[in-house]
Symmetry: D3
């Protein structure tokens, strides 16, 4: 979400953060990676984004599990354990003296290549690991106002191309989708899958509400969002009917409410899609309830961790 992000990055504390690169710390403007790095050359790397709330890395185990699955998918083997990575992230936060409202991006690429090439056999280093911690807080104004979407011509690919669930460094197609949505005057792109059903937004997951039910895509072509999974979980906990299914624009244009989810922004209402108002064009009441449930889930997680 654009507006939220803008607010977030305007936090001046971010000017002075220290970025972690393969064991060392660098100032923002000195944080650099080799131009022979596989992530830079051919998008050959994977990443995760975590939230630090009240000193706790929320849903940490889910994020690490997803990162390790991504590594298996792209055939990378990490020379460290999940716990070692966790300790490294904690070291980064400590070094930066950060405690709340922090967004942590972990990026792991296959490594440095002997020469610019796709070939994994030409990798001459172990994986490169970069960790960027930044202060970011979703603006409550954005949340209240909601955002607008435009359905892009650019589709989600099939899993036999580049698995759409993969959090990787090859995301130009999502950039392309967003560019088209921006040109159409919207905040973010709604993307269809190869069969023409609603899948996801370019950087968040999409949900809609109809007659008291929560609907989202099957998850087969969309980003494998952890916030998405948590919304589905809170629906189960609170006995709110929630269906992962093929939803078409027919359903979406007739929705009562709609919202997007992401690690950064949690739940953000959608008030307009393709120029058509959704429901009454405001932060819907069931969306608001789900958002509250989601924040409660985070609170519970935090208190469990803190013991």
């Amino acid at each position: 979400m654009i507006h939220g992000t803008h607010n977030a990055v305007d936090d001046t504390r971010n000017n002075d953060i220290l970025v972690y690169i393969n064991g060392d710390f660098y100032k923002r403007e000195e944080a650099k990676i080799s131009v022979f790095d596989s992530g830079y050359l051919v998008g050959d790397g994977i990443w995760e984004a975590l939230r630090l709330h009240q000193g706790v890395l929320v849903f940490l185990e889910d994020h690490l599990e997803r990162l390790w699955t991504a590594a298996a998918t792209v055939g990378m083997q990490f020379p460290f354990s999940k716990n070692e990575l966790k300790l490294t992230v904690e070291k980064v936060l400590k070094k930066n003296d950060m405690h709340d409202d922090v967004h942590v991006r972990i990026m792991i690429t296959r490594g440095i290549k002997k020469t610019p090439s796709q070939d994994p056999r030409l990798t001459i280093s172990g994986p490169n690991i970069v960790i960027v911690p930044e202060y970011k807080k979703a603006s409550s104004e954005t949340k209240e106002k909601g955002i607008t979407l435009f359905t892009s011509t650019i589709r989600r690919g099939s899993p036999d191309y580049l698995d759409p669930k993969l959090n990787c460094h090859s995301k130009l197609h999502e950039v392309q989708a967003l560019i088209q949505a921006i040109e159409a005057g919207a905040d973010e792109a709604l993307m269809l899958d190869v069969n023409g059903f609603i899948s996801t937004c370019n950087a968040t997951n999409f949900f809609m509400i109809k007659n008291g039910e929560v609907w989202t895509s099957t998850g087969e072509y969309c980003m494998n969002g952890i916030t998405r999974a948590k919304v589905i979980e809170v629906c189960k906990i609170h006995d709110i009917p929630c269906h992962q299914k093929n939803v078409s624009l027919f359903d979406v244009y007739g929705a009562d409410e709609a919202f997007v989810t992401g690690t950064f922004g949690g739940l953000t209402p959608v008030v307009k899609i393709d120029g058509r108002q959704i429901g009454n064009g405001t932060f819907g009441s069931l969306t608001r309830t789900l958002s509250a449930h989601y924040h409660q889930l985070i609170k519970t997680y935090i208190s469990n961790v803190k013991g």
Copy 2:
């Protein structure tokens, strides 16, 4: 092609090259780009690879044209002209005192982001330009022996996902295809398009020969290879029937000869696909003829440029 590449990068002169980054020159191990660069973060960048033969950048105009089309596709605008870029490349070569058998990779990314994000509106610099010149020469041994391919499960995507013609920094799917081929014991991956027809290899273009005719894919789902275009051109010049059409594995397994093309290696024979010998398993005679024609085309280009 792996073997050729290995030989190429073992040229010790490459240890001392100077890499161009946004106007400055850096030693190989100091050549670095910001971890906030869009190419590193989300594969949001485009590139070209050129050959310097006898002091001449071969087919330069074609490469620049392709680069400018790629920029239009991804919505980037360059703050320099084609001629200015050409002068920059020449400056890089001069600085490195390079004259022959040089491979030049130009990489242009959207620029530095305020924060890790797909959003082009958060770009806070102009495009980053990196130029890596290296000594590389295809090994004649590899050429004589030929290479082996394995048909990957990974497909070429549709143009409504990420246009497969685009030379960009989001190439993880091609890395994935190559990994599968390597696991199957082959040198490079043969890739099918979404309809199941032969499209291309992961990093080179594919051709086959049947009854004196040259066949290659329609070009709709494959890399937009300049060497590919030149092979088609020499066929026209020399009245060798050449068809761009949908070719299936039925055709490929029954081919008389096969070869791949690329800027680096020119034409390299393929001797085995999916474990099945192609033709008599050697550098085919029509492939050899086409290779000679192609080298003649380069010679003509060079002498035209040199006047």
Copy 3:
């Protein structure tokens, strides 16, 4: 269903009905719409069909909800509320002094165009509303004998073309499917979706029974039938296993029973598909049970409305 329909329209009382057009009433032969109407010109309109049983418009709320969703899909806004439309329909029935076994078709088109064109900006009137009430009763003979289907070559489209759930005035593809089935000697066309699974018939929904279970398509590519939804509902109420899933001709040819559903005919047994007898070729016993449950649901609805 053909036979039923024929019987229905042979009710001579229909000769004297009054058709509602934008507030006025017209005799059947004088009921006309402008040739500049968007529905006539380019199929740009939506419709609903309702049943009047014993003075009650059965499942009225479901029909109105579906109509309003359709309007959202095609970007039409009605200058009246659901209740106002309900009152209008009641006025039409009163004007015609109709009380039972009546089929009411409500058709709403975008409006009159300045000139024949697709362009919604050239619409110069509000929506045109036409209501046709007719006496129609499904023949019990047809029900007992059952109908025959033929699988058409014509497929259900994807939702990124024209959402197959939409009850609209652009239905020529369904006419085409029916024509092919008629040529093959059948009563109605069975239609596959884009992936080759059973979806629906051209004007009714399809169900089959296997080992005591009721199977119907996922609903993603088929008409969004209200009778279909009611059959699924009665299965739930009566603990009859009912699955919405991808069913292929493999399953259908081996079915124990099959039937189609529609607002007009309720449940009608299918006795032959593509020339192959289904089950024992008669009105199956579970079909008969479901039909009875469906009629009970209608009765309950009526008595609830009548209070």
Copy 4:
């Protein structure tokens, strides 16, 4: 094209035209068709649009041929010959005393139905024929300025659904595409085919120019435009390379020029697509040349007819 159309329909002479319906003439506001007409009910009808230039119905034979093919496709048989229809159109023009700059729309629907239904067996009349003649002239201002396109999410369907070449009364999907383009601020929608290649605009055909070559889609999923065919013909006549092939957005965004074609507007330049300027954003020079050639073709046709 919107702007042109607007100008066209603002010709006040159109207020007084007489519309032909099944042999009789009606004033515009009295020109009506039965609400039981198959075209109104389910979009079951076909149409043609002709231009009258200097008293001559241009390319009349092509239009009649296309109409008869459409009739065969939808299984309609006309009770009149091509020549009889031609005489009828001439009668309509004479009745209206029209001689130049006239757009004639011929609409033929299957006929009146016994009851609202898809079933062709319930048709109780012969085909209904409606002919609307209007004064329309493309504004030269629009031509000079060019129009803007936006690539719609809505796709061209496959021929196994509703043949996209068919000029029929079921065109709601094209209306939907146009609505999305309008919401994005553009004049008309660019539509992709099922494979993600450029096909056509919602109501005109699309062409682009690259390095002196004219490219348009294969024609397999697009409207079967007669102006499109004539542009291809003039390319042949004047030795301008013209390719019907799969073109992607990669190609389109990098085009030197682009234009759309239609019976009404001839060739109209496209200056922006998805917010990106095409070429230098003006009426391109090769487009201008092709437009001149096209008008010459019309002139030749007229003088041939006039003898």
Copy 5:
């Protein structure tokens, strides 16, 4: 073609033919193959059908080339050369004392399996070769009357499934298509490809004629017919425009003439498709011309062989 085949097999001379199996000759009723043969067990075999005219095996080289390509596709290696197979066929004909109007079917399966299984590693014999020679002559009555087609729901598969060009022992899908056409009252099935375009009939290739041009499918999804190739060749020789392209039912229903081709029947006119008459419903004049040209080609071939 059914009628022709019926006539053909009613030649009583066929009762006494000797069938060749792996070097030995057997009477028709004693001609048997092991139930452990891969062709019987899992359709793992390939075949060719040849015509003997006036003592000459017509187009023999084309048939052998196609057979060897099929072997490469399925990974079989023959323990004999093309010439050896030719000599074997001649031996079979001599043994049967056959000289004219003979249909020869060569069937080669992978061999006998250790146990019923797909696994090629369990093959314990060399390939099994069976040659069936029969007297067959297409009835001239059938040709004059023409045949009828019905478009089947069953599609041609993609080359990434089972290459539709392959003449193999796994043909149940074509049997299924034919069964549906028979149920619809037609002689043979017209089959669409995966994209909905016309591809081929179940056992012959399909051509249509429009405005003096000959159209047939691209060949990508259809049987790789040698008669098909010869028709295209005679068009070239006689300057008759012939296009291999995507043709839809839109085109087919509006065809002037249509015909099918096969080794057995040569060219046979099609007079009705899906119940709709093609052209004037007789043996079309251009079809007749092409048929004459084709027979001339055979004559020339024969006289060339005979010297």
Copy 6:
């Protein structure tokens, strides 16, 4: 599974089995079928494989039900009842004096053709029935070691081609997939469906385990395995979460355990896919539990039958 099969077929008792063909018994090397049999000619036949454990044909009713559904699909009618076929199988076992660890393959083809042809109207006999009983026991060594898979380029077809659920004699595509896997050094092929999701192996069904859940494909494109159904059943019985859903290589490479199922081998662990180790590369603990549950289900079945 290869290794198991090899062991199995090395049981020397199989040299002396008697094969049933249409009522008579033949020694293995004399067990032959006419070369005019539809199964041999065009793969036009269907089959089942049963296991005899301790004198009981396990899950017999499921196998017969599946066989009768297959017959309906291909339009065959059996001249015998399920019970009669059961008695025939028992006769075969008695004749061979077989009591345990026996694999019985029943093959039923449409019958003998008048001439080699696809046409079912040319069938001149009733169906041919062949029953092959063999001693086969899965090697426990193979089970402990597990097998390796390679994802084939060859896909599962759509149900509108040849229904992938059908156990028929046209299986060359599965042979092709296996050949590719063998070339890549693996034991069996993993096959994707048309959308790129995991479907099945070439001759067994595929399951994976993630976080204590059992995942397998939707079943829409895979073999309709009875062992597969039984594994799903034991999961229900023992409250082990089991989901039939679209699973991609992303999920598979990150699986904790994986296994394949088949009538012959029951559950066999998979230790490597595409060269990547699955879990810890051994017989996983949940797989072991499921295998035990499955064998218990067989035991229960046997004791129920034996009373």
